[in-house]
Subunit: 105 residues, 2 copies
């Protein structure tokens, strides 16, 4: 099941633009103060670094990802998610678009 | 004054991707049912068509825009906005990034 909408959030209006626009996200805050973001990765091969641990939840499209220290590419598509540990990284390949919610911690 | 955050909205998780990613937005709905979006236009020269009338409110960065039927390029930067009538169009030039809220109607 995919998360189509997230109710009752405070939305940050300025986008986060990464990798010359290959990844664009908007941050938001839940009523309990939890910070998350929604974003999209466009066709590209990128490496993301994490500070905090993250859970990437795919809401539309798909990607292939490879976690730091792994040789194994895995697929993540709508309704699936993957976890990245803090102070780590992952490689991502996107053919069309990967729409996601980024959960921290 | 710029609108940094919009409280208490229902956020659509899937992005709208226009012009091969030169414009990316996320839709949201206010408590009263009003639909809007937040987005960013990256460096480009584009022509947008409107169906409903729109107000483009700049929250960060800047653009130059030219409304259909005008020969006059105007600047819109953070805290400013411009109106586009329904079933019309506007040209936009962005040098760095134009972060906006799109209000309809």
């Amino acid at each position: 099941m995919t998360t189509k909408q997230i109710p009752n959030v405070d939305l940050t209006t300025q986008a986060n633009v990464y990798f010359d626009g290959k990844c664009v996200s908007h941050g938001f805050t839940l009523a309990d103060g939890t910070e998350k973001s929604v974003g999209v990765v466009l066709p590209s091969e990128l490496t993301f670094n994490t500070a905090a641990a993250e859970i990437m939840e795919c809401v539309a499209g798909a990607c292939e990802y490879k976690l730091a220290g792994s040789d194994h590419w895995q697929t993540c598509s709508a309704g699936q998610s993957f976890n990245i540990t803090a102070n780590s990284s992952f490689d991502i390949k996107v053919a069309e678009a990967f729409h996601y919610i980024c959960h921290y911690g």
